[in-house]
Symmetry: C2
Subunit: 341 residues, 2 copies
């Protein structure tokens, strides 16, 4: 197909219709296969499409159908291993159901998160998977709910919002990790976590519960930044140089734990002999770092799958009640923890 200037032009349903000598309605029908059309016309249309290399215009379809088969995916920081794995799981599951994901890395900046929500709404997404960063997320969620767009929250709840959620046993996970260290005889346990925007408080509460049950003072350090290596390194460097240094550190994210390992090495402390370290998440790296990291595993892939599954169910049946699925964490013991000497 060429315009008179010789530029290629993309064929429309109209072109197919005239090529096949049928009406555009007929073309549309063989395209969607929802109504009967006689065999000979069908083959004529198919042949015409093939000759012209026709591809339907999803934008036009979206406008007419009022559905785009796209879902917004709001995630704090795509470059962190945990989130990139989660994004991968979501993308893959959506793809399998012929939905596309609009991936938005909010970077925990309220402005960016807000802008992205706006964008998703104007973009007419059919649904939204939302991993909020708490501050400022509530009004965003409000706007989504007002538009009656199906939404599933990941690892977060908001009072007063009756929406679908995929949660994990953060409290139990925190509890289990701390218990593990307590069971090994540690009594001076430090906890490092990222800003509470990107970290569910329950995780921390679980830790504190376990510690208080064992009558151990909680030494918690909440860093005002994301869960990256640097964060863990800086926090640990400071903690490990105090006069009474901890014999164990519970990092509430694997990335932080890796930073801790690094700091320990820098200070010539051996893990796990001089220091036990427990992480959280079980990112794929955790098994490969030295020493391999004992960690509280999240079923990252399952979380992504569950989120999509819940969403699809809601899309099929818009009047269904919101659904909450809870997945369990599991302590994976590797070689970064040992009994306290």
């Amino acid at each position: 197909m060429l315009t008179q200037e010789g530029r290629p032009t993309i064929p429309t349903i109209k072109d197919v219709a005239s090529e096949a000598q049928v009406s555009i309605a007929t073309v549309s029908r063989v395209l969607n296969g929802n109504r009967r059309v006689s065999p000979d016309l069908r083959t004529r249309v198919l042949a015409a499409m093939d000759r012209l290399g026709y591809q339907p215009n999803a934008i036009a379809q979206g406008l007419r159908r009022n559905a785009t088969r796209s879902v917004g995916v709001l995630i704090p920081r795509i470059h962190e291993p945990f989130f990139s794995t989660l994004a991968f799981a979501i993308e893959r599951t959506l793809f399998a159901s012929d939905y596309r994901g609009l991936l938005c890395s909010t970077e925990e900046q309220p402005g960016k998160e807000r802008a992205y929500v706006d964008m998703l709404l104007t973009q007419q997404v059919d649904a939204i998977i939302y991993f909020p960063s708490i501050t400022g997320s509530q009004p965003n969620l409000q706007r989504i709910v007002e538009r009656e767009i199906p939404v599933v929250l990941i690892e977060r709840s908001f009072a007063g919002f009756d929406v679908s959620r995929v949660l994990i046993s953060n409290f139990q996970g925190g509890y289990d990790g701390a218990q593990h260290l307590i069971g090994l005889g540690h009594t001076h346990i430090s906890v490092i976590c990222a800003n509470l925007e990107s970290m569910p408080v329950e995780r921390l509460s679980g830790v504190q519960q376990a510690l208080s049950e064992a009558r151990i003072d909680a030494d918690v350090r909440i860093m005002n930044r994301g869960s990256d290596f640097e964060t863990g390194y800086e926090a640990a460097l400071e903690m490990l140089q105090r006069p009474a240094r901890p014999t164990a550190i519970f990092a509430l994210a694997d990335s932080i734990a890796v930073g801790v390992l690094h700091a320990a090495a820098y200070l010539d402390l051996r893990v796990p002999d001089d220091l036990s370290v427990v992480g959280f998440d079980n990112i794929s790296l955790a098994a490969y770092v030295l020493p391999p990291l004992t960690t509280v595993a999240q079923p990252i892939y399952a979380i992504g799958e569950a989120a999509v599954r819940v969403l699809l169910r809601q899309l099929q049946n818009p009047d269904a009640a919101p659904e909450t699925v809870t997945l369990n964490t599991e302590l994976v013991v590797r070689q970064s923890t040992a009994p306290c000497r």
Copy 2:
């Protein structure tokens, strides 16, 4: 805005027009600000928009304007650290220019890559950033070029396609990494790389060039899989258990190098005393692993920025000639390499 059933309905430009007692053309004009409209009407329209909470429908705009302000981003495996960082850079730069990225993780599956290209075309993206996985990518690129959609290839070239590219000095990087090991006196150097789909051959060529100049036999192991920890671990485990074990391993991706470190530890070999390891990429993890990894750094963030910059230039000026920008790698010496004993 409510329908008679009480369901909320999203306000359109029409609603705004009747609310403000003007024509829809006027509303459109204050929306786009491209033509003059008298101050009092403007304020009336703005007020009406505000009252109704109007948000333009990007799908309708896309159909009418024949431009969607979205660009497709095709990337092999979003969950690998290198690619997730690259995706982050791209996403961030696009966002700053008010474009959205449709992130597609092709997983190096020809079928999925093809399906995603199809999807992007039907989705009417304005441009495409393409990190191909070689096999089967050529016909995909062909289809993109036929549609005259601006495209920029990352780290790849295809003979016969005159399209924009962002390249890095892969050959030089490979050469430099090998030179570093040679300079340290190593003569038994093994090389591990992922499948050549996801790895530019030039990188390997650079290594081989340096080795042959130094009259050292090349011992190359090409794994038929992606660049993950497991890959490096398995390859190294095998190589390091041979009778004549190498004194240095050049892993052509950091993720692989991390697997190598793990294998070395498993075999009780100390790095760098018993084995020197060089990586490639300089993912953020590289500095935090133990020992910190000597690696050939790619300017990952700059690559993403450059790709977007080139693309935007091409969108502004569709008749501009394709552009190629080449960025340099740089050897970063840390503590995983030492003189051969």
